[in-house]
Structure formats: C-alpha cells, structure tokens
Symmetry: C2
Subunit: 796 residues, 2 copies
C-alpha cells in the first residue's frame, strides 16, 4: 500500500522529495489538463494536431475557477492515502467543481470502473471531454453521476454537515471536506463548523475541513478571503480547530508545503484517534484543518483581452470565452493546455503514464473516488427490526381511549436504537423530548462532547440522538449518514421543517437521478416525523402554523415521495416501521403528540395502513350499500372532527347514509398513472362514489386534495376543509373553528351540499352555528375548550 520513495521522503524530515514532487505535479497537471479538456473540447483530446475551431464545443459551459485548487487537493490527499492506507472519502463543496471530480476519478481509474465505455485511452478521453456539460452527458457540478460523491454541487452550504454525517459511526474514516470561500458565506455552512462538538473521537470518524480560499465568488471577492488573516485564524480557533495554512501560487513550492501540511495534519488526527482509543477525554479535542489559499483559476490564463483573469473573479467560469470565433483565444487555449505538457502525462494511446498516477492508491477501494462509503447502498444493511406490535396500544373500542401517538412511537424507536447501536440515529432541533419521543433516552443520550454539569440529563459522548438548534445541520447530518449507508429519522416541528425545503429538494433530486444509475445502490429512505403540527400550535400561535411542507414535497417525482397521516398510535407504529424498512424514498409522516383517540387494534391498523385508506364501517351508516354522503379525513385532528360530525349526523339525521373514509397514505388519492401508490379509478370510485358529495377534512391546505384528485370522477362533488392560514394564539378547538374544519362546520357542509334534506336539516344547521358560538364564547371566557369538546369520544 505504501510507496518506498515517499517513505524516504518522510524519513528525510517530511519534506517532499524530488520524486514525490514530480509525481504530485504530474497528477496535478494531468487533472488540470483533463478539466480544461472537458470544458472546451469536442475532439482532438490529446492535442495531437493543432487546435481548430471545430474541435471546440459550440456552447462553452463549465467553471474553471475552483478546479485547479481541487485537483491540487485531490493529488495530495491521494498521496497520503497511498502512503498510510487511510480510509478516506472527499466532499467537494465548491459548486462548480464538476470537471475536477470527473478528471481525478478518470485518472484514478475509478471513472472507467463505473462507466466502462469511458476508457482510459484517447477514445475514452474524447468521450470524457465531449459528455461534460453536453446534452445527454454529465452535469457541470459534482452530482450523483460522479463517482466518489455524496454531495451535489450547486446549492451551497452543506459540505461540512454532509461530511460529519458520513463520519458518524465510521471510526476509521477520514472525510476530507473542501469548503469553498463562496460556500463559507452561507448560513448553513457557517453554522456547521462547530459540528465536531457532536462527534465522538472513539466511535466516529474524522472530518478534515479544507477551507479553500481562492478569493472570489461569481462576480466579487469573498469575505473569508479578505478578512485579516489574524481574524480568520481567530475565528477558526474559536470554532475549535487547529488551522494549518497553505498559501501561494508557485506549484512546486505549494506541493512541498501541502505535502508537509497533510503529513502533519494526518499525524495529528492519528494522535487524537490513538488518544481516544486509549481512553483520553473525548471532549475538548482540537481537530486539525487546512486553510488553502491559491489564486482563482490557478495556472490558467493570466490575462485575456488585456484584462487580468487568473486570480480574479473573471476566471470563475470559462476564462477564454470566444475560442470558436477569436483565433487569438483559440491560440491562448492551445498554449494554456500545452503548458501542462500532455505528452508527458499520457502515453501514445492516451492512457495516463504510470508516473502521472503514481500518487493513486493501488487498492481500488482506497482510491478516494472509489471509496465505497460514497456509494452507501453498497454498505447498507437492513435494520435489525424489533417487533413494533409489542408497542401496540389496547383499543377496547374505536374512539374510546386516548394515547399520545408519538410517545408510543418513542418506545419503538428506543428498541430500534437498542437493536442497531451503530447504524441508526435520530436528529432534530432540540425537540425529541418535546415531541414526546423521550423513551429513547432510556437507551441512549444526546450526542455531546463538550463540558457537562451535574444538573445535565441525557447527554452522552456517543449518544444516538443528535440535537442542535439548526434544522440545516440536522438535515445535512442525516443526508450524509444515509448516503453512506445507514438509517435515521428527523423529527421536527411541522412549520419549521420549511427551513430545509431546499435541502429536501436537492436530496429528492439526487434520489431521482440515482434511480437511473444502476451502479448506485439503493439507500435507506429519508424519514421525517413532523409532530407539533399546525393544529396543535394553538399556544405558539400563527407564526408556528404551516402545514405546507407536504405541498412542497409532492412537487417532486412520485417515485420518490411518500406522505402518511396516521390518525392514531397503532397506525403510526405500523407506518413508522414501514418507512424505516423502505429504500430510496422521502417519507413524510405527520403525527400529533397530544393525547388523541385510538381507533384501531394493531391488526386493524396494519391492514388499514396496507390499504392506505379505507372505509370505517363502524363509523359509517351506509350499511355497506351506496351512501348519501362521504365524510373523508386525513390527519389525526381532522379524523376526530370527522367522526364527531358523523356522530352528530347519526343522532340528528338518522336516515342519512354516511360513509366515513380515513386516508393514511395521501398518495393513494392520485391516479395510478401518476403515482405508484395511486388507486385505480375503479377502486377510488368504489370508495368515494362518483356522484355523492364528499366532505373531506384534511390536515393541510385544502387545495392539495383538489390537486391530487382533479382527475377523479367524483372531483366535482368534492368539498375540502383544511388549514387556510387562519390562526392565532388560542385553543385547539378554536383553531379548527377558525378554519371551518370543526365538526359543526362539517355537518353544515353536508347539509349545504345536499339540498332537499328538509326542515330537520335546517334546524340542525342552526344548532351547529349555535354550538360554534357557544364554544367560542367558552374559549374567550375561560381560555380553554369547553369540556364536552375537550373530552369528546366516539363512545361518549
């Protein structure tokens, strides 16, 4: 695994010897050459003939600025891996690093392993160049298509959180995370530097941040590059790191400095790990990191059309833009490419010569682009699944007794943690106890490697619960953890999960693309448990009331998306177990934490969840024949209101045939052509009818139900109630009244949509209005719901 020349270098005072210097530089030059080729060339990849306009792509799309720095880092990381046998992956934070990640993995041999048609020869190089940022080809960002990546470039901010997620529970893994100085300006990145406080040097791997300051973002300078260096160091030390600075623009000198620095840094990491292994204190560790200052567009054209380019923002994208039309640009491009001396880098067939890949580890799995952690599905093992049925609540009769659904789930999650001590984590913004999952603390603690006080509870250096008041960090951690082949759950307040809308987007898009990449193995689903939901944010008020995450989620590909609204504890258990077993989805489960009625025995719950929706015969009065009206519901609070409405109708309009339908799996509502879970038209019609009024009480924004069902036969008869942005600080029942989702209003909706029900219906309608007034008056007077509402049960 190690290389004798390099060992000699090390013995000689850790300086990079001439052979090592040459090897690193050959790799660096080769990667740079291949990167530029991707941006520019359709043909003539080895410059075996003079460069002509027709060799150039018609649209020049790609980014050079960040690439040489990345190539430089990769060369030196590889060298360390080869010498030490380190288990290492890398995360490319700079959004436009695509050419580098592709170039280095092709040099490695990894690219050809994954895409055998892109051979390591002139023909393969031509393909490699041509496909880049080309229709039908590969994106200009690091992407799912890129071997060795778990991190999409483009939307910036998540490189460090992904890196930490990957490092958890992989004690021997080093995750080198390159953070661009553009990305470093984002909030999510700024908030993830201190994530090491949650890692355990015994149990977890190491994140090695490499802050790459090339000075510019798209069009202007970056803050971190222009801060006084003393401020920068002070800031990074404050974050808890020991920064090592590598700065310069002379490649030879930079190779020597970088080699020596990575030597020191990896020694420091080894010492910390060794100390941890010996039982040294886990907190207060100062992890090393690297600050790399190189010119933006390093080794590229210094000047174009009389304007400085290297080391300015002008090298962000394509430094020579008019190559097809301006002979001078064409000449400059050829000179630039030839400055890397391709004839020294590639042999007659176009394969990399041995010396130019001498820094590459021999073992394929040790090549950074080939590290199996970056294709987590390869390493994924099923969870050891405890029996969720053991946590079933007793349901003597439907709607008679209450449970806190998430508290029941907490017991099951505790058992999942217990059975999977190294492959399952729960993340959340400090709400695990608030969301009543605190049974997990019987088995584990909150991960914490900072100072503790005697009054602290449930903190542990190796805790499986990751709590920090940053949804971004929670999401990034979990994504990194899943993408490297493990399992987990994100629990959060419903309203504030919008904080990670955009991160969800990127993950869902990643999953969609990987479905078409057979070499990417399926990974565990991303599971959201949204509790403290819109209907029970009566105390926190309007700013905490937003059920729109579902709307956001269902815009993504149906193949990826699942949304569940279990109405009670046993259905939540069944749903959660199903989600934890699933692969390659994003599962959104919405379940309240407040005491709510139970309806279904465990066996009934399993059957109901398996169907995804169903008629609740016990609550219906249609006696198995065609109903007069359908009351449908999805969500725990709407289910209570629907049942209460059904009961009012049963009492006051006993001749009316009412069918009650409960929906757990929201995607059942879509046509089968549009979602894999979609019901057939026939099945849908059998449940909802084609011509009877359907009063649908929904957890979220009402128009979502219309959007899911607008192709259904019965859509014209559908009347949906849900949250319509009417909320304030009030009581739970007043919340549903404010949005016309309450039992009394549902009864009125039935009456209003069934003309001809006669005078008894008209009386009932008036009575319902009076009931609303009574409830509101009680609430305003006593600050609470009327007891008959609060304590209502189906059997009462």
């Amino acid at each position: 695994m190690t290389d004798t020349t390099e060992r000699a270098d090390t013995a000689a005072g850790r300086a990079l010897g001439d052979a090592g210097l040459r090897q690193a530089d050959l790799y660096f030059r080769a990667a740079n050459y291949l990167s530029i080729g991707q941006i520019y060339l359709l043909d003539n990849p080895l410059l075996r003939e003079p460069l002509q306009a027709e060799h150039i792509k018609p649209r020049l799309l790609g980014h050079w600025g960040t690439v040489p720095g990345l190539n430089f880092v990769y060369a030196h990381l590889s060298r360390q891996v080869k010498r030490r046998g380190t288990d290492m992956m890398w995360i490319v934070g700079p959004g436009h690093g695509g050419p580098s990640a592709v170039a280095t993995s092709w040099l490695d041999g990894t690219y050809t392993d994954v895409y055998p048609e892109v051979t390591q020869d002139a023909a393969g190089m031509r393909k490699l160049f041509r496909q880049f940022s080309f229709p039908g080809g590969v994106p200009s960002h690091v992407a799912p298509e890129t071997p060795g990546s778990i991190h999409e470039g483009g939307e910036l901010g998540y490189s460090l959180s992904h890196a930490y997620g990957a490092a958890f529970d992989n004690p021997d893994l080093v995750v080198a995370a390159v953070v661009g100085d553009g990305e470093a300006e984002t909030g999510p990145l700024a908030g993830s530097w201190t994530a090491h406080h949650f890692t355990d040097p015994r149990r977890d791997g190491t994140v090695l941040p490499i802050l790459h300051l090339n000075g510019y973002k798209i069009a202007g300078p970056t803050m971190l590059a222009r801060m006084p260096e003393s401020d920068l160091v002070s800031m990074l030390e404050g974050f808890g790191y020991r920064p090592h600075i590598v700065a310069g623009d002379d490649p030879a000198e930079m190779h020597r400095t970088m080699a020596a620095t990575f030597d020191r840094v990896l020694d420091e990491i080894a010492e910390i790990k060794e100390g941890a292994g010996r039982g040294a204190a886990r907190g207060g560790v100062r992890w090393p990191m690297v600050v790399l200052r190189t010119p933006k567009g390093w080794t590229g054209p210094a000047e174009v059309d009389g304007q400085p380019v290297e080391n300015t923002w002008r090298s962000h994208q394509v430094p020579l833009a008019a190559v097809r039309t301006d002979p001078d640009h064409l000449r400059q491009l050829e000179e630039w490419m030839r400055s890397y001396r391709p004839e020294e880098l590639f042999d007659a067939d176009g394969a990399p010569v041995a010396e130019s890949t001498a820094v590459v580890p021999d073992d394929i799995e040790r090549r950074i682009s080939g590290n199996p952690h970056a294709n987590g599905g390869l390493l994924l093992k099923d969870l050891t699944m405890p029996d969720f049925r053991e946590h079933a609540v007793e349901v003597p009769a439907p709607g008679a007794v209450r449970s806190e659904a998430t508290r029941v789930l907490g017991g099951f999650l505790r058992d999942v943690v217990r059975a999977n001590p190294r492959t399952f984590r729960i993340v959340g913004p400090d709400e695990t106890a608030s969301n009543r999952l605190d049974a997990v603390f019987e088995e584990t603690g909150r991960a914490w490697n900072m100072a503790t006080l005697p009054t602290d509870r449930n903190l542990a250096p190796d805790g499986r619960v990751m709590e920090t008041l940053s949804e971004h960090l929670c999401q990034g951690w979990l994504e990194g953890y899943l993408l490297t082949g493990r399992h987990g759950l994100f629990n959060s307040y419903e309203a504030f999960i919008h904080i990670v809308d955009s991160m969800f987007n990127q993950h869902a898009k990643w999953l969609k693309v990987t479905r078409d990449l057979p070499w990417r193995r399926p990974i565990a689903s991303l599971n959201y448990l949204l509790s403290s939901h819109v209907w029970r944010q009566d105390h926190n008020g309007f700013s905490h009331q937003d059920p729109g995450f579902i709307d956001h989620v269902v815009n993504k590909k149906p193949e990826i998306i699942r949304v569940y609204l279990p109405p009670d504890a046993n259905t939540l258990l069944s749903t959660a177990e199903h989600c934890l077993r699933s692969r390659d989805y994003v599962n959104v489960v919405i379940a309240g934490k407040q005491p709510t009625l139970n309806y279904m025995s465990m066996e009934d719950a399993i059957a109901h969840c398996t169907h995804g929706l169903g008629i609740w015969e016990w609550a219906s009065t249609d006696a198995g024949v065609e109903p007069d009206v359908v009351l449908a519901c999805a969500g725990d609070v709407p289910t209570v209101e629907t049942l209460a409405a059904a009961k009012l109708l049963r009492e006051h309009l006993p001749d009316l045939r009412v069918r009650v339908v409960n929906v757990v799996d929201l995607m059942r509502l879509q046509p089968e052509e549009e979602h894999p879970h979609g019901l057939s038209q026939k099945a849908f019609d059998a449940i909802f009818t084609t011509d009877k009024p359907i009063i649908f009480a929904f957890h979220g924004y009402p128009w979502l139900i219309h959007r899911l069902t607008y192709r259904r036969n019965g859509h014209g008869n559908l009347h949906v109630r849900g949250y319509k942005e009417e909320g304030t600080t009030t009581t739970p029942f007043d919340m549903v009244m404010l949005n016309d989702l309450d039992r009394f209003h549902l009864v009125c909706d039935v009456i209003d949509n069934m003309p001809g029900l006669g005078v008894s219906a008209a009386h009932l309608r008036q009575r319902m209005q009076n009931e609303r007034l009574r409830c509101r008056a009680h609430t305003r007077e006593y600050g609470d719901d009327a007891p008959d509402i609060r304590d209502w049960t189906w059997s009462s």
Copy 2:
C-alpha cells in the same frame, strides 16, 4: 433628556451609583413581576389578596427562561437612551421573549399608547396578564402585535440580519440585537455575524449584538454557553467584534457591571461614528458587542419538587406547572412574585411608581418600544419613481426582435437607485451581474467595507447593491430594511429561493397580522425578481431546476400575495414599477435573462399588465368569434412555445380557430371570491370559453394551474403543460421537450384533445413527432439547439 443623578454617577468614574442601581433594579423587578403575571394570572394582578387557584390561568402557556435576561437588558438600554438621547430600537432574538417585550413596553407607557384599553393601572394590568397567550389575546412570542418589534419570535436565526437591515441608511440609529444562545446555533444566525463588513460607519447605523448566554435551549445545553470562554472570545473577535463580557447572577453586582459595560460600549460606538464622520477609514472597524451570561430563569424558583430549576433547562417554559392543583406550587408562585416586592413597584392604583420607571426616556419616540423605526410605515416615503417608459424597447412587430428582459430592467433599476440614494437597496446572492442587472453598477457599487485590490470592480463602502452568498442574509437584510420604512428588491436564481421559504412564510404571516393592526402603518412590498429560471438552467442541470417557489407562495393569504410572469421586456418594466409602488404585499416576478422575443409596445404592455391577462389578437385566428381551441401561456419560455405552436397550427390547419391568451398576473386565474385579483366567472369564461379545449403552457408545475382554476367552468377542458421534474444538462429547447412543453407537443395536445380534426391533423401530429426527433438528434450531435428553433421568430 438626561438625568442629573446619572450624570453624577458618570462623573464618579462611571460606576452605577446607589440611586442608579436602585432605579435599574426597580425596573428589572417590575418587568419580571409583570412577565410572570402574564404567564400565570387571570386575576389578582397586584397580589392585593392571597393568591388562589382561581386566579391562575387554566392553561399555563408561556416561557420564563429567557425573560429576566431580556428585562435586564431593556432596563440598561433604556438607561443609556435616557442619559444620551440615543436613537435606539431593539430586536428580541430569543423566541419566547414575548412576556418581556410586553412587560417592558407597558412599563414604558408605550403599550398603553398603542392599546389605550390596557391602562397603566390595576385594571390594565389585569388585562395585560389575562390577554397573554390567551384566546383572542396576544402571542407568547414577540410578534406584530408587540410595540417596538420588527422581529417575530419563534423561528430562530434572523435577529442579526433584521438588525443590520434596520440599521442601513439610518446613520444615527443603534439597533440593539439580543441573540439567544439557542438562536446562535442556527445556520442563518451563524452566517450573519460578519454582516458588519457590509455596513458603512458613515452612512449606516450601528448594530449592537448582545449575545445572551443563559445556557440552555428547550431541553439541553447550548453550544455557545459551553464552549471554553477563550474559544468564544476568539470566535467573536474573528468575526470582527470587540466582545465585552458581563457574567453573574447577583442582580446588584450585575447592574453595576452592565451599566459600566453599556457605558463603555456606547462610548466606543460614538468614537467609531465620530471617526467615520471625520473621514477615518471605513473598513476594519471593530464594533463592540456584549456577551451576557445569566442563569436561565434568573431570579425564578431555584428548586421545584426537589429538582433544580433556575439555571437549568427546566426553567425554559413554566417553572411551576401545577399551580392550579398543587398548593405547594401555588405557594411557591406567590413567594416568587412577592420576592419582587410589588408594593414598592406599583402605587395604590396599580400604576408604576415614578422611581420604578426612572430609567425610561421622557420622549415617547425615544422609548425603545416606541421607536418609530420599529413601525416603519410611519417613516415610509414613496420612492421617487423615474419614468419606466423611458426604458421601453422598440417593438416594430410582435415577436420579431429580442431583448434580455432583465438587462432592460437593469437600466430602470439604475435610475431608481439614482433617484433614491438612501431609501432603496438591491440584495442578492452574488447574481446581480449574472442576472444582467449590471446597469445599476453605472450608478453604485456592491457594498463592501473590507480590503480591496486594484483588480476589484464595482465595490464601494456605501454601495446600494448588497451581495453575499447567503440568501438568508439577503432576505433578513431586506426584511429589516422594509420593516423600518424603506424599499428594495431581492434578485435570485429561481431554484434556490427555496432557501428562504421559511423566512418568506414568517414575513407573509407578519404582513397578514399587521393588516388587522391599524397602528401598524403599511410598509413597502417585498419584491422578488426570480431570474435564471427553471427553463434556462439547461447548463446548470437538474439540481438548479425548480419552479416551486410560486406553489409555496400561493399557500399564503391572497391579500398578501402577487405573482407575475411578464413575457417580455416591456411587460417586465411595467410589472416592476407596479411592484415597487405597492404596499404590504409579497410580489414574485419571474423573468428570464436570456434574449427573448418582444411582443408588446410599452403602451400595449401597460394595458396588458393592467388587465393581468388577455387575448393576443395578432396571434389568434378566431377573428373575434368563438375559437375552436384556446392556447394559453404564462411565462416567457412557455409564451414562445405557445406562439410557435399557434403558428404551426395556422400554417398546417388553417381552418382551426385558435385563440392565444397570455397571463401575466397569475392570480387572475383564481375566482374573485378567492383572490382580490381574481377574474369574475363571466370574464374568465369570455376569455377561456366554457367548453373548448384549453392547452395551457405554464412556467411552473402544471398542477398549480389546476389548483387555481378548479372552480372554473372550463376546468374540465383544461390541459396544462409545465415543468414535471424532468431535466438534465442539455439545451434550452431540449428542456422544454423533456417536459412536453415544446411547440410540437403543444400542437399534438391540440390534436389529441380535438377528435375529428381529420386526416390532415393526423399527418401534422406525425410530423410534430418527427420534428421532436429531429431536434433531439441535432442536440445530441451538436450540443446545441437546431438553428431554426434557436432563431425562431413569430415573423420568420
């Protein structure tokens, strides 16, 4: 304005004298007493009789933990304002600081100014207590209802960015921003510490961050409170601040330290401002800040039921939870409240005694809660609006020549900047030039107060363009700027605006609530310009393709929301001017930056935008009578495809009467009962017909059009094409083909929805399929769109 006693103190070496100590402590105790009263009491506000269970609220909702620290800060800020006459507002970052903001503003007299029914006497105090977190009352967070606030509590992360936004262009204003140690863990907050690098000490006001470390969030310790203090100081110094630490738990000692510290801090600020006025260098300023360490729940119950409460997470919410049922809790509450000695704080009528409000400034506008900047509509002036018509592009004929719409807009924005040098700002993540608004740089630069290099361009210490690679910071800045009575525009890539989904939510909710608060004056609308949109992210690929921000936006109250899709340059100009004049909305404008056909002269564009949608007669062949089919479109790219389809139909099926409808104002599609811009059913039917097929080409996700129109008569005939998450790195036309939005597919849609068109239609359909194949083949071969597609015009 100043107070003689306090001046004596200052003379005596800046120590807080006994009188000053007593005044500060009286205010502190009074505010604490009033805060606890809000959480607990329905009645007996002054404890004139022994506390009984019936005096206690039935639901105890509220948060004590952060409150005493906030009260302490407010007392000492007020004292400084009174002594110095400083123009000061505060931002309460800690989410659950509601009781403090309400208590201090009531003590101030500000609360009663705004809500005269909540008098400064026993009856008013009873109201104050009762309304808190009570149905029909006020939220437990700082909220629009709270005088002196521009910052909703709850979703954390934005206190500093709001503070900086408020300080811009208010050179004499000091914005004291209390940052909780929970909030400090969020990404957006972590990313906003360095925002001072964008402020100009000459032109902008001062943000005084007060990092309040009380040690705990909901259920566990906070990172910043447990970091070694040396790390904390190092980090804050690295951010560019001079931190002053105030730590302790003895109120008397803390009062002295805080008074002396604020004295020093405000002197430092005055020195910096004075230096800036004298022309000192603007960059490299080290602004002072305060780190305040106090116990969580300071001065609250030390122990409850044998568990430590003060200085632990247990004091986060309601420290004594069972007051109505547990006599011991009730006794403890009474002791706790009496520990503040209410008889010394309030007179016989319940009004604050003079000495307990001695720290309060006499001038109402100087009281921190009464600062007019916190009710920005009071200070708002109309923009001086240049004539947008001067920027009109010549349109010799519809669809004949191209413009880059946003580049045209840039010229207008330059003039807006010029005409409003202190009240208008443009924010964005480093994309002003990329979005082709760079004409603004003829007038101003990017705000930048760090080191510069000779190669830099368009940087200026007082630049009006605020660019940082943090959408969170951009949004927070703009919100703070608007809420304090100024104007602005956020320009961003469409896909990544989802990063601020949740911030948009909070702002839209804020606006909705303020509509019911007459004392809150209207503010300028929040204007988003989304360019680099989904259809032209062909080069950046799938991860950059997401038009879903509209879907997110339209979930909020129709009264607040406007969405515009101008198809060309002149309609964009007209739309932008309208948005910049508007009040209390969120306007979302989506417009491409690529060369696109122009259709309308300026006068036509104004008329079209005023109607919001309309029939384009010149593109239609229905000759003013009933059409056979309606081709509708919204968005610049769908408009081109629709016109091209109309032209194909005109050529190949000349007898077919085609009506082309373009929609600029998306909200016109909703029924008038649902949105103020909604078309009447009659008007809608007149345009779209009730029975003819409507093929609608839409910029965003197609189901949004269904959601907006499902109550329309013609909805059953509506067929929508839009983005359906099919994208990759390809060409612009391939992008529309991938999503079946292309001209050829639209023609097929017409044919498929009009059975009986006969054999010529069948032939055309086949031809359209062949055209698609031809285009795809060209793209795969040449990496670009076929020239006839790329260069297509209506007149070609």
